[in-house]
């Protein structure tokens, strides 16, 4: 059976990981290559690298990091951050990315999804969306959650699927950073509306949050950032607990 995936997300700035935890097994916690290997050996099913610097210099450093990770870690790698054009897709795919996630770039230019899907295949294109519950319903935000749009989250997810996105990451602004659990009502709405894999993001704070996520809604993966970087549990530990709870995972 298809396993539920656990995906750590690494924010990379100037070639270093931001918010790295003091893992005793690591000599250099901020080194993306070391941290990526550490997570991969520990049972991560995929890795997401987020480029938080958009400058040209930052980008070339980021590609260098990506290339070194791809040379050493053999699980799927997704890249996000600053993806606005097919050239951006090209740039990161050549450095070893398997999937590319678009967010604000797709809000600005929705045809980017279909263009990228046609050129690189659906499996390559991940639509990442930041969503907040507003008075007028679930709305998509752009620019890293700073700017509200009029786009309805379910409509946007369906547009993404129709345009050829192979996967959707749903990040709840309401639960992000709160460590109080995933946004199950939002995720349930999106999962019911599309027939492509959905990755839950925002709110992971404990093992129980992941168990609750996979038991309550048919998402394919759970993504976490600080929960793994600073977390009180390892991915292996998390997966063992998930398995005990009847959730199919790769151990």
């Amino acid at each position: 059976m298809l396993a539920k995936r656990i995906i750590p997300c690494l924010d990379v700035k100037h070639g270093r990981v931001v918010k790295g935890k003091n893992f005793s097994a690591l000599r250099d916690v901020d080194d993306p290559v070391e941290l990526a290997s550490f997570y991969s050996d520990g049972g991560a099913d995929e890795l997401v690298f987020y480029d938080i610097v958009a400058s040209a210099e930052g980008r070339s450093l980021f590609c260098d990091v990506l290339r070194r990770v791809a040379e050493n870690v053999f699980i799927p790698l997704t890249v996000g951050g600053g993806i606005n054009s097919l050239n951006d897709f090209d740039r990161v795919l050549k450095c070893g990315a398997d999937k590319v996630s678009v967010n604000s770039g797709a809000i600005r230019n929705p045809s980017l999804i279909s263009q990228a899907a046609q050129r690189y295949g659906n499996q390559c294109v991940v639509l990442s969306m930041d969503v907040k519950l507003c008075d007028d319903g679930y709305r998509v935000y752009s620019l890293g959650g700073r700017e509200k749009t009029d786009i309805d989250a379910v409509t946007w997810a369906q547009f993404g699927e129709d345009s050829g996105a192979g996967e959707i990451v749903v990040n709840s602004i309401d639960t992000d950073g709160m460590k109080g659990g995933f946004d199950v009502p939002l995720l349930d709405k999106i999962v019911s509306a599309v027939n492509i894999p959905v990755i839950a993001s925002g709110g992971a704070g404990s093992v129980e949050h992941f168990i609750d996520l996979f038991r309550s809604v048919n998402v394919d993966a759970g993504l976490g950032a600080s929960v793994f970087h600073f977390g009180d549990f390892t991915i292996k530990n998390l997966k063992e607990k998930l398995k005990q709870s009847g959730v199919e995972v790769r151990l």
Binding site: M1, L2, A3, R5, S40, D45, A70, E71, N72, F74, I75, P76, L93, K94, C95, G96, D98, Y120, G121, N122, Q123, C124, G166, E167, N195, I196, P197, D220, A221, R250
Partner: protein, 201 residues
């Protein structure tokens, strides 16, 4: 020396890295002499079947692959590269493949109504027979899949299946030509072991 056949389809960087990681020398090439001179061949591929089959045919590499297969060279098709080993595919129309494995490539959607397409993620292998390519790999080992179509064998080529609503072809082998639907270069230690087995054939 393993030649990764470059016919303008997909990203070959990870595959090259994974072979280097296991200590194998390899070259990405679309050059006929290089391909003929290589000890083994890997036929990669992502994207649509028709487009890939056209590119193989236009470059003339389809004939070279068939010739090398006949000469007994070990060949491994990966993902779409496995599907190309089949006779034909029904992905956006009807397209001819290499015809090394008898059978067709058909949409997963016609078999699984309630499951998500693409079949994306880690799924387990179940072997229908044992081949050298899978030495040290067992039933239940996880590998990474991404695909919306599947190969339906019409001969005895089937080696392994994975459960996605039904028994989906995960690996095939016809004499010296093998194919895997999953991505060994993205399947962690299990995948590297399979690539090593191929390199050691």
């Amino acid at each position: 020396m393993i030649a990764i056949i470059d016919y303008g389809v997909g990203n070959l960087f990870s595959l090259e890295c994974s072979l280097k990681k296991i200590g194998e020398s390899c070259i990405i090439s679309g050059d006929v002499q290089t391909i003929r001179g290589a000890d083994k061949l890997i036929l990669p591929g992502v994207g649509a079947f028709g487009d890939a089959a056209d590119k193989l045919r236009l470059s003339g590499l389809d004939k070279i692959i068939l010739e090398e297969a006949k000469r007994g060279k070990h060949i491994l098709g990966i993902c779409l590269g496995m599907q190309l080993l089949f006779e034909k595919s029904f992905e956006y129309g009807e397209h001819c493949g290499l015809g090394i494995v008898r059978g067709q490539v058909r949409p997963l959607s016609e078999k699984v109504a309630n499951l998500k397409i693409p079949h994306m993620g880690w799924n387990t292998l179940k072997f229908t027979r044992k081949t050298k390519l899978f030495d040290g790999i067992n039933d239940g080992d996880y590998v990474y899949f991404v695909h919306s179509y599947y190969g339906q064998c019409a001969d005895d080529s089937l080696v392994a299946v994975t459960d996605y609503g039904f028994d989906v072809t995960a690996a095939v082998q016809k004499d010296n030509v093998a194919g895997v639907q999953f991505h060994p270069e993205k399947s962690g230690e299990t995948g590297l072991k399979i690539l090593k087995n191929f390199a050691d054939m």
